[in-house]
């Protein structure tokens, strides 16, 4: 938070026009905005005064985006939303592995940008409860129990672990490698087929209605995202 009690967001992009437009959009939505046009300047400022959220362009001229992220992660766990261009999957995955929370592809709409930012900030706030609800589903992280409309859904230990990880990291993209190494261990990072099959079972068990609501999004070639409040019709 900045001195005015607003969320402090830092926009890092070398294109002045993009920075200005993003700033206007964010300020209109009640956020406080700082700008940086290069990776080094951003890191310097962030080290002195850490913002609440960072919007980072991956195509900075001075330092590659993933390097900026790695440097940032040495001293801060501030949520980062990266801006990428289409058809740049490799870079996107690199950035997520390096600690980015989410990505958005250029050209993006302002509505989408604000929705992503809100989702990230929502997640960053600790909820203080171990029970999480979405649609007819209630997940009790402490008791390891999943209820659908009050009735228990029987999940295997692995399926629950997977659901738990997705729910804890809601509204964040989890890469395949990310999920595999934390659930099955670092040796399993190439076995995306395990993950796919468990994901399929999990979705099947939670039911058609939950599935059509769009809570579980597959990010092609990247990983999965659990969306706590999916947009209607999207």
């Amino acid at each position: 938070m900045n001195s005015e009690g607003k969320f402090d967001i830092m926009v890092v992009d070398d294109e002045e026009q993009i920075r200005r437009l993003v700033r206007l959009t964010l300020e209109e939505s009640g956020f406080g905005v700082r700008e940086a046009y290069s990776g080094t300047i951003f890191l310097g400022e962030a080290a002195v005064h850490t913002p609440d959220l960072v919007i980072l362009d991956l195509g900075l001229p001075d330092v590659p985006g993933s390097e900026v992220l790695r440097a940032l992660r040495m001293f801060s766990s501030v949520p980062v939303l990266v801006l990428t261009v289409l058809s740049d999957e490799a870079n996107r995955i690199q950035a997520l592995e390096a600690g980015a929370d989410d990505y958005i592809t250029k050209p993006f709409s302002t509505g989408e940008l604000i929705a992503r930012i809100r989702a990230i900030l929502r997640r960053a706030r600790p909820s203080g409860t171990s029970v999480f609800n979405f649609g007819p589903i209630e997940v009790d992280l402490e008791k390891g129990r999943v209820l659908k409309a009050g009735r228990q859904v029987k999940l295997t230990a692995m399926e629950f672990k997977l659901l738990r990880m997705l729910v804890i990291n809601r509204d964040k993209v989890l890469t395949h490698q990310n999920i595999l190494s934390s659930i099955w261990g670092p040796k399993a990072i190439d076995h995306t087929n395990y993950l796919r099959i468990y994901m399929m079972h999990l979705r099947r068990k939670l039911g058609e209605d939950v599935e059509s609501a769009g809570h579980f999004q597959t990010e092609s070639g990247v990983g999965y995202r659990f969306v706590s409040e999916p947009l209607k019709g999207a």
Binding site: L86, S87, E89, P107, S109, M158, W184, A188, H191, T192, N193, Y194, R196, I197, M200, R203, R204, E208, E211, G214, Q217, T218, E219, S220, G221, G233, A234
Partner: protein, 351 residues
């Protein structure tokens, strides 16, 4: 394409290998055939004619030299020695060389003609590309310019209209740029599909997400269940292919017509298919043949667009060793079917 643009007279190692192989085969076969050496001489002649029409001039001449030597050494009595040819034998040998020259010349003329046609076609294509791309780029840019100039002075009502125009122009420019990028990826040969297990439902959901409000006000029916098996494909390519089909269906059919997306495993389990069907006017029969060609646009299609969408779909499917086909719907309308080779998901043994 590259191969056919080489003039045959340049020849290459493959041509020489072909010539040597054919001569060796004729010699070997001749050795076991109870034919007179003169008859065999004509068999060599035949071989020269056939090979010379397919190779360059130098390999054709080599073919003549090899044949005359082989015929003389192996078959002209006394066998297995070189002998000074008699008059009629010499005559046949001379014919070898003349035939080789004539045939290779004819072939090279044909190649040259082909090449000219190909170049003319590619020239035409480039002109079409630059002409159309120029037009397609300038239209939204002119809209931007005019709208921006007027935004300052326009009243509220006019402003709302301008914003709407800007939005449409932005969308047009966006899809043009992304299509051109896709086409470049396809044609530059840098497209390396990364096949991985995909679920049809995810692909369609992602394609719908990427189209955003371009599908709003449309009834889109998804006709497949969670029980469908996964299949191997490149998710982003499939997503874009499905996106193009959905977009086409939305653009070329009236608002009232519903769009149906289906996915299925073929009866023999060899293919996985995703279909996009609509109740629109369908594709006119004369258009079907060039439906998937680059810059191919329906004569009645709305203005704007380059006619790249379906060619990109075809390119992306081919890159993944799949294909795309068009079928007319039973009650009118179109059915587009994306098809990928299918093999079952390996048994998941718990890690």
């Amino acid at each position: 394409m590259v191969r056919s643009l080489l003039t045959p007279s340049q020849g290459n190692y493959l041509d020489y290998a072909k010539v040597i192989l054919v001569t060796a085969c004729v010699t070997a076969a001749g050795w076991f055939l109870p034919l007179s050496y003169l008859a065999l001489g004509y068999v060599y002649l035949l071989a020269i004619i056939v090979t010379s029409t397919q190779v360059g001039r130098m390999p054709a001449l080599v073919s003549a030299v090899l044949s005359s030597l082989a015929w003389n050494f192996f078959f002209v009595p006394p066998r297995l020695t070189f002998s000074v040819p008699r008059l009629d034998e010499s005559f046949l040998l001379i014919i070898y060389f003349v035939v080789a020259l004539i045939c290779s010349q004819l072939a090279s003329l044909r190649f040259a003609a082909n090449r000219a046609t190909l170049l003319a076609e590619s020239e035409k294509m480039h002109q079409a590309l630059f002409g159309n791309v120029g037009h397609e780029l300038k239209t939204p840019l002119s809209v931007f310019r005019m709208a921006v100039e007027q935004l300052d002075t326009a009243d509220t009502e006019r402003r709302a209209q301008l914003v709407l125009d800007l939005r449409i122009a932005v969308r047009r420019l966006e899809s043009l740029v992304s299509n051109l990028l896709s086409l470049t990826r396809l044609e530059s040969g840098v497209l390396r599909p990364r096949l991985d297990w995909c679920h049809a439902r995810d692909l369609v959901a992602a394609a719908r997400r990427s189209l955003g409000n371009r599908l709003e006000r449309r009834t889109l029916l998804e006709d497949f269940s969670l029980e469908l098996p996964m299949f191997r494909a490149d998710a982003s390519l499939m997503e874009e292919a499905i996106g193009h089909l959905l977009f086409n269906a939305a653009v070329h059919t009236p608002l009232s017509s519903e769009i149906r997306v289906g996915a299925a495993l073929s009866a023999d389990h060899h293919f996985f298919t995703i279909t996009v069907a609509d109740d629109g006017p369908g594709v006119p029969p004369e258009m079907v043949d060039r439906l998937f060609a680059k810059f191919s646009r329906g004569d009645t299609a709305r203005p704007g667009g380059l006619g790249l969408g379906l060619s990109i779909v075809r390119g992306f499917m081919a890159a993944q060793r799949g294909d795309v086909n068009y079928f007319p719907g039973r009650k009118g309308g179109s059915i587009f079917m994306l098809r990928m080779p299918y093999s079952p998901f390996p048994d998941p043994t718990s890690p």
